[in-house]
């Protein structure tokens, strides 16, 4: 037997408490899997190589879908080291955290290597708007970054947002469709870079968000790309069997663990059975916790349509999930409630529209629309108070978006949805007192 030691030297910046963990797979020359491991800058991995293998390849998987491969000769009864290194450049260290979520070309460009095909300055007119969910209403807030960074390929803003409430960043311009991206409360960072993807569905700008939780976010990024093997290898379902009180100490890790367990099917075997319910109760402010709990109860078959419907309302009373996985679960439950009850209630329409308007921002929830309460599969462009429909598709033309009001009904804090129309009229959108654009970064 020989031993392979895998090390990772990957800089993601001092603002991150945890290192970025990545799954590494040890393969034989024919691509057969020999072993799997997880490696981070803080933790090397050791893998036992059976004696029949003299040559192996180590493949490090990144959340973006790309990988890095090393060839390793393994003499008998030896210990061999392999190092994956991407220290990045000092002057662009602010952007290194995002490299693992970008294509190879994009990652090089944001780290100042090469000349971007489309410089970020071509998006100077892209405006940003912040929305906060307060007392059942989405309210615009001034965009006040604590830090700003830029180079030729990317711009980045840091925010310090009040915790325990929902936030959305909206961006748009005359050429960039209006889109919302969920932000975590507390300290968070947003990087914007031109999209170099060849995917025909791509938007001109990539938006990448971090709440400075490299470990949890890496797992959710893999999950968002249906990379279940990588998600599992980073997973720690043991978290879910710890006392619920621990969830309060690290709610984001708890939420991620719940989403992963629901997707991988491991939630069925979790103990104690009431874990999800207690989890949601303790993270009262979190839409994600409410959504995960609601989906789990529905999948367990322990609640009826009326109860599921009430739980959906409760989920939305907390605003919006932070993670895209939450929208899939919301849609699952809403679709079941609609099919089982025949209801066309406003909150079900809201979820349907949000699902239809879904956009891509990795693991972060993102959707098209004029306001967070007016998701719309048709796209808008223009100044923040002057939305214009994109294209001339008959089915969308002339149809004002519907927006939804979250009204407090006084029923144990339960909120009720009210559906309005013409949410795209300019008077329903706040006139920005000071326009914040990428040109300001």
């Amino acid at each position: 037997m020989s031993t392979l030691t895998i090390e990772l030297d990957l800089v993601i910046g001092g603002a991150f408490a945890e290192a970025l963990p990545l799954p590494a797979r040890v393969l034989d020359p024919e691509g057969g899997l020999i072993a799997e491991a997880v490696v981070s800058a803080h933790q090397r991995a050791q893998v036992i190589i059976p004696p029949e293998y003299r040559l192996v390849f180590v493949r490090l998987a990144l959340p973006s879908g790309r990988d890095d491969v090393k060839r390793v000769d393994v003499p008998p009864d030896s210990t061999v080291g392999v190092l994956f290194s991407d220290p990045g450049s000092k002057e662009n260290e602010w952007s290194t955290w995002a490299a693992s979520r970008l294509s190879k070309v994009e990652a090089s460009l944001i780290q100042g290597q090469g000349k971007p095909g489309m410089p970020i300055d071509q998006f100077r007119d892209v405006w940003l708007r912040l929305w906060e969910f307060q007392s059942g209403t989405w309210t615009p807030q001034p965009v006040q970054p604590t830090e700003k960074y830029r180079n030729a390929a990317a711009k980045q803003v840091d925010f310090a947002l009040p915790k325990n409430t929902c936030w959305c960043l909206q961006l748009g311009s005359d050429s960039v469709p209006w889109r919302m991206v969920s932000l975590p409360g507390g300290n968070c960072r947003v990087l914007l870079t031109p999209n170099e993807s060849t995917d025909p569905r791509k938007e001109p700008l990539k938006v990448i968000v971090t709440g400075f939780r490299a470990d949890v976010e890496a797992q959710l990024e893999f999950l968002a790309r249906d990379s279940i093997r990588a998600t599992r290898s980073l997973g720690n379902h043991a978290l879910l069997s710890k006392p619920r009180a621990d969830g309060l100490r690290d709610p984001v890790a708890w939420i991620a663990a719940a989403y992963v367990a629901l997707r991988t099917g491991d939630a069925q075997s979790l103990q104690p059975a009431e874990w999800f319910g207690g989890f949601a109760a303790q993270l009262e402010w979190s839409s994600d916790a409410a959504v995960a709990s609601c989906a789990w109860l529905v999948r367990r078959g322990t609640i009826d349509v009326e109860q599921a419907n009430l739980l959906l309302l409760k989920c939305l009373a907390h605003g919006l999930p932070m993670f895209a996985e939450g929208l899939y679960l919301l849609q699952e439950v809403a679709s079941l409630v609609r099919a089982s009850s025949g209801s066309t209630a406003a909150h079900l329409r809201y979820i349907e529209l949000m699902a239809a308007a879904r956009a891509w921002a990795g693991s972060a929830l993102s959707f098209y629309g004029a306001r967070p309460d007016a998701p719309d599969p048709g796209k808008f462009v223009g100044l923040p108070d002057q939305p214009r429909r994109v294209g001339t598709e008959e089915r969308f033309a002339g149809r004002g978006a519907q927006f939804f009001e979250f009204l407090t009904a006084g029923d144990n804090g339960r909120r009720v949805f009210e559906q309005r129309s013409d949410g795209t009229k300019s008077e329903s959108l706040p006139t920005p007192s000071a326009l914040f654009t990428l040109g300001d970064i």
Partner: protein, 388 residues
Amino acid sequence: MTQILPGAARQGPGMHALILGVGKYPHLIEGDGDLADKPLGLGQLTSPPLSAAHFIDWCLGRLPGSPGGYINAAAPPASVEVLVSAPTPLQVNNGQGLVTVQAATLANVQAAFRAWLLRLKQDDNNIGVFYFCGHGIAVPDQYLLLEDFGADSDQPWDRAFDLTNTIRAVEREVKGTAYFFIDACREISLEVATTLGANPRALKVVVLRSPVLLRSSSLIFATGEGKLAFAPKDTISRFTQALVTALSGYAGIKEPGAATWGVDGEILAPAVRKLLEEENKAAKVPQVSEQAIAGKSVPIVQIPVPPRVKVKVDLSPKTMRVVAQFYLRSATGPAITHNGADGAFLTEVPLGFYDLGVLAAAQQFMPISRVNELLHPPLYSDTWRVQS
């Protein structure tokens, strides 16, 4: 109902397929019946019968060049149920003679689905395969249109079904594994969404009080949400072509200690997308497949040999081909060489690690080399820009 593979009384787990292809829509544009009140701009399709037939051939292991079509020792083929709507009814040779396939009307589909579900429930390790090719619409739940869609102007949506909630019902009925391959458009129509009565029913009612039982679920759509799926006239659709290719030895992963190469949803979906991406290079309108993978990894096929990789390497500018010598060397085996004067470098190799590159006969350009490259199925396609 038309059973091509009758599923004789056999013990143990097996694969049960339900294959639906709808090309004939009498109540849509250019159909031979009364036109529906709202035909949604939809008409007749030539591809679904051909695409469904292609998928049937794969299930029955009759595709030339394929390592044998459906192969899975853990769940051998047990039943293949088929409904296809075409101007001329499809006939399939099931080895015992020609079988005329019945039409994919709602009544027939409901009966076939019921039988399929019953068979799936008979063993906890069964694998269910549900294939549909025809018109679809997303609202954003996915609705699929059957032959008699629009027959009743008062209840036009009566003859479509809600795939999304059909899957939810399957999840609560079956303990094993289910694969859903949906070769249909997913355009999101707010017009339809806001039309009263535009809520077709699922093929089985979801009982909300029943827990989810399904161990593994893979849903692969031909196209992304809000997008269209395409097929050239009178040919197999792009998606089905890519799907069957990927399933025929161009995808797979070998887990530690395994004797075979397994293809589960997580492996299959990117292989299909990659093949479609290659097609997109020549297509007028690009198409990108989408998937939803959940639960444990349970392979749909398990092949005894390493999956193959189609290799396609070219040079830019193409004029440099004439002096180019391509090579491809496996980490453990011999090299393949190719004279660029004969055209782009096209070959097939098993999955594995390779060094590959190109040299110029008399240093007309700088050599290019890629070392330790994992050639991953189904395809390695690249165009190298050379500089003199």
